[in-house]
């Protein structure tokens, strides 16, 4: 199949996934989540005025940038009908590996640049290794994504706690934290700058490149993708590697924020990222979603928990509310989809 044919096929899927034409009613349904976001913000602001203060809005944007990055990572594999349960433990593993490499390089007397390179190399190296493992097990060996990433979930937890002996790893240089957390471009904090840049690149990759379009085709109809001659195994492997590399970037940013390598950094991040992606409108059935849905979902979840924190809603009640929101979000999304068909 030539590239031209492929791009025609990609456009067809694009139409099927509803990007092409919007009727007014569809537009209303599409705008529902953003409207809900604004209503939510105003509602919290009515209870506590601080919610809308510039400091808190910046705070929300900064918090969102981490979850958005992880939701994007999750979205990439969800597009192909998979998911990555190992994302959270991979974040822990990368955090510990990055901190250890930098502490080690500092101890052996290397210069600042070498220390930073060692940290980034170790972090992204571990991320790539994790993604490669997931991709090969899922695409080449044909193991279900749930089982494969449940396996690497356990492996990554084991590696993270063994490397760190279960304790936070100190020795992260100040410059590292400065670049990935403290720094800012034109007054915008580093985390937001990085996430927006990565988000734009990822969006263009998903929408404008053959690789990106093939993810939608594989998710919409895997058999058709294989019959059409797409190298499904290679694309899937690359997809899981992309997911883990994005997670590694997020882990590096979070390590810069805490200033140490944390073996528990990932925690329940896998499911949170899936929830974020799904609330934003990414379909677990594959083929539907993108950077926009991931960011919207992450924004929604972050605003909700930020608002509940500021209005002093009990943490346990917050868990119940978040659970209900996940279900309602998906339900509304399904209704929206039915309307648009």
């Amino acid at each position: 199949m030539s590239d031209a044919e492929l791009s025609v096929a990609a456009k067809e899927t694009c139409k099927d996934t509803g990007h092409a034409r919007w009727l007014p009613a569809q537009r209303l349904w599409r705008a529902m989540l953003p409207i809900a976001l604004v209503v939510l913000l105003l509602g919290f602001a009515a209870v506590d005025g601080r919610v809308l203060s510039p400091a808190n809005l910046l705070n929300i944007a900064q918090q969102t940038s981490y979850l958005a990055l992880f939701a994007m990572a999750q979205t990439v594999v969800i597009l192909t009908r998979g998911f990555d349960l190992a994302l959270g433990p991979a974040v822990s593993m990368v955090s510990v590996g990055t901190a250890l490499a930098m502490a080690g390089a500092t101890a052996s007397g290397h210069g600042t640049a070498a220390v930073l390179l060692a940290g980034l190399g170790a972090g992204f190296g571990l991320g790539i290794a994790c993604g490669l493992f997931n991709g090969v097990v899922i695409a080449v060996l044909g193991v279900n994504p749930f089982v494969a990433t449940l396996g690497s979930y356990n492996i990554a937890i084991g590696v993270a706690t063994t490397l760190s002996a279960g304790r936070p790893v100190q020795g992260v240089p100040g410059l590292f934290s400065q670049i990935f957390y403290g720094g800012s471009v034109l007054g915008v904090p580093a985390a937001i700058v990085i996430t927006v840049t990565v988000g734009l690149i990822l969006h263009l990759t998903l929408v404008r490149t053959v690789f990106g379009r093939s993810l939608y085709i594989i998710g919409t109809n895997p058999r058709a993708a294989a019959v059409a001659g797409l190298p499904v195994k290679r694309i899937l492997t690359l997809t899981y590697m992309l997911c883990s590399v994005l997670a590694a970037l997020g882990a590096i940013m979070m390590t810069a924020r805490t200033g140490s390598g944390e073996p528990n950094l990932g925690g329940s991040l896998s499911l949170q990222a899936i929830a974020g992606a799904v609330v934003g409108g990414t379909s677990l059935a594959g083929g539907r979603g993108g950077v926009g849905t991931a960011v919207l979902g992450a924004l929604f979840v972050t605003i909700l928990s930020n608002g509940m924190n500021l209005t002093r809603i009990d943490g346990y009640v917050q868990m119940v509310v978040l659970g209900a929101i996940v279900i309602i979000g998906v339900l509304l999304d399904r209704l929206r989809l039915e309307r648009s068909q």
Binding site: N154, L271, Q318
Partner: protein, 338 residues
């Protein structure tokens, strides 16, 4: 460990291959693991260790049976771990409250506690099932939501503090008791497995679950009422998880919101999948899932006895889990299609 892995390699001769194809790798792996451990460490077949393994395997098997049923029908239940915690807390709390109101009336206290525990399990199951069947939201997302909500409710009830005040007879006379040398939990698990095996093979419900998981459209056309049976699978799964929570509570002697959790949920899915339940639905047998729960428990026990660093143990678990499923997948691919 090396012996277990070596035994799991695909056999080369045709006769062996067909046998392995029929019974699967799991029993062979299990036998190899038990034989290997028995030669390495005599502690392994000590009475205390065996009872310990059986008790822990019982909890996992009960939860995994329900999980397997949901997966066979083409769903997913992420909420089981949270239900274990909620049932534990609710049971203990109800018993404590009833004991304060009717002191000494043990039968009433225990009955009300167990009923409340199983009741809250069936409520969660009903919510899961109705959301999946009526609202047509994917099981993964629904149970992801109810998992968070259920865990939240459990913590709200207790504020994270263990609940005491259960009657002595419930803990000493049931939870920690042994009948004919075996813990009571083992008998409960065996009863659950036998009932589930019977339900799978001999009842309409069991057959319809396979039909729904195998091909929903065909099942609809054949006149199977899909919604009722899907709700049935989720309720069964949650009630079994609640049962495991009650048994755990009886053994430990307090209701705790930290029981179950993500670990129990992931292990129950691992047990089902290693036990040959296909995540695509329509395939799986309860008895193999029970063996698989036993295998996972023995594996964890073996890693402990071999003094493998507890931090490193998840790595072994992960590798073995992926290897078991990958080998199964490869052997199925090699088999000629009929």
């Amino acid at each position: 460990m090396t012996t277990a892995l070596a035994a799991s390699r695909p056999p080369t001769s045709i006769g062996l291959q067909s046998i392995a194809g029929r019974i699967g790798f799991l029993p062979a792996l299990l036998v190899a693991l038990v034989a290997g451990m028995s030669t390495i460490d005599p502690q392994f077949y000590g009475v205390i260790n065996i009872l310990n393994i059986l008790r822990n395997a019982s909890f996992l098997a009960i939860v995994a049976c329900g999980q397997a049923l949901v997966i066979i029908a083409g769903g997913f239940d992420l909420s089981v771990g949270a239900v274990v915690a909620l049932a534990s807390v609710v049971t203990a709390k109800t018993m404590a409250v009833t004991a304060a109101a009717f002191p000494g009336n043990n039968a009433l206290i225990i009955a009300s506690g167990v009923a409340a525990g199983l009741g809250c399990g069936s409520v969660v199951g009903l919510i899961n099932g109705l959301c999946v069947a009526k609202l047509k939201v994917s099981g993964f997302v629904v149970t992801l939501g109810t998992m968070s909500a259920t865990a939240g409710v459990g913590l709200m009830i207790t504020s994270g503090i263990p609940v005491y005040g259960m009657p002595e007879v419930f803990v000493k006379g049931f939870g920690r008791a042994q009948v004919f040398g075996l813990p009571t939990a083992v008998y409960v698990a065996l009863a659950v497995i036998i009932i589930m095996m019977f339900a799978q093979r001999r009842t309409l419900f069991g057959r319809y679950v396979y039909a729904i998981g195998g091909n929903v459209d065909a099942a609809v056309v054949s006149g199977v009422s899909i919604q009722r049976h899907i709700v049935g699978t989720y309720v069964t799964s949650s009630v079994l998880a609640a049962l495991a929570g009650i048994l755990l509570t009886a053994q430990v002697g307090s209701g705790q919101a930290s029981f179950g959790g993500d670990r129990m949920m992931l292990q129950s899915i691992a047990a089902a999948v290693i036990g040959g339940v296909s995540l695509r639905g329509g395939v799986g047998r309860i008895e193999i899932v029970a063996i698989s729960a036993l295998f996972l428990t023995i594996l964890g026990n073996a890693l402990n006895l071999l003094h493998i660093d507890s931090r490193l143990q998840p790595v072994f678990l992960g590798v073995i889990m992926v290897a078991a499923v990958a080998l199964d997948e490869l052997s199925r691919r090699r088999k000629p299609r009929v």
